[in-house]
């Protein structure tokens, strides 16, 4: 069964707790070409805002691994992305992410999928909501 409107509302278990480290913040800032921003270095750095993608991509894995949906990352196009932060991620934060399927519109082999990923600390503090629209094309039937 491919993904359909019937899967709207499906939510996945929280990802394994992820501890944000100074090393990963440095690596991520460098990958953005922004290693020189002093906010991302030193003893207690914050993470670049879009660092949230590290957590949300872990949450995406649960959905892509769901055998009910028949999704493949290599046949997925990222249409849009939205983040809303309650506070920046900091080195030392322990974070979990929960993905929910908000919207599905399927037409033939393609589906437009709206998802949201809620990031919160293991202490229960909300940090960020990352919402995405994806366009998925199922493998052509033989």
């Amino acid at each position: 069964m491919p993904i359909s409107e019937a899967h709207v509302g499906r939510s996945y278990p929280a990802t394994a707790p992820y501890q944000v480290s100074r090393a990963k913040i440095t690596e991520f800032a460098a990958a953005l070409g922004d290693a020189d921003n002093p906010a991302y270095t030193g003893e207690s750095p914050v993470a670049p805002p879009t660092f949230a993608v590290v957590l949300s991509s872990a949450a995406w894995a649960a959905m892509f691994d769901d055998p009910d949906l028949g999704l493949a990352l290599s046949r997925t196009v990222h249409v849009d992305q939205e983040f809303a932060w309650s506070r920046p991620l900091r080195a030392g934060d322990e974070v979990v992410a929960v993905l929910t399927i908000d919207k599905v519109r399927s037409r033939g082999a393609s589906a437009i999928i709206g998802i949201s990923v809620q990031l919160s600390t293991t202490g229960g503090e909300d940090v960020c909501t990352a919402a995405s629209t994806l366009m998925h094309t199922a493998e052509e039937a033989a």
Partner: protein, 136 residues
């Protein structure tokens, strides 16, 4: 923290960044997004793309630097949204150059909205790219 000043219509300092294939591999590792269309020409061609393309999130994250450089503290950024309107094709030899410009499009209740314009070879690659920044 001192408040930042913002006026509607204010242009913010822009910048450009050359993305090479090495940058894509680095971002794949940093973000854990290993979709092969970002490093394999074969995988990109199978999806009908003209070549390896940059991660949309790499373009999105790179462009936000305009906002965080202006705001000083990245923690001031309240929200950020974009549409990925056109893929950034990264040539194996020459890479691809992103040009990032931005302007304060609204100031209301202590929050500035910055509208970003991100182009590659003169064509817009992000649509409706806006970030909200706390000013106080």
């Amino acid at each position: 923290m001192t408040a930042i000043e913002a006026t509607e219509g204010q242009d913010l300092p822009g910048f450009s960044r050359l993305l090479t294939r090495v940058d894509l591999v680095r971002y794949a590792g940093a973000s854990t997004d290993y979709n092969p269309i970002h490093y394999s020409d074969t995988a990109a061609a199978a999806l009908g793309l003209p070549g390896v393309i940059a991660h949309g999130m790499l373009t999105m994250g790179t462009a936000l630097r305009l906002v965080t450089d202006w705001a000083g503290d990245p923690g001031r950024v309240l929200s950020y949204q974009v549409r990925f309107t056109r893929p950034v094709v990264v040539d194996a030899v020459d890479g691809a150059r992103l040009e990032v410009a931005g302007r304060v499009s609204k100031v209301e209740d202590g929050v500035a909205t910055v509208t970003l314009e991100v182009t590659c070879e003169g064509q817009k690659v992000l649509g409706a790219a806006t970030a909200e920044v706390r000013l106080d």
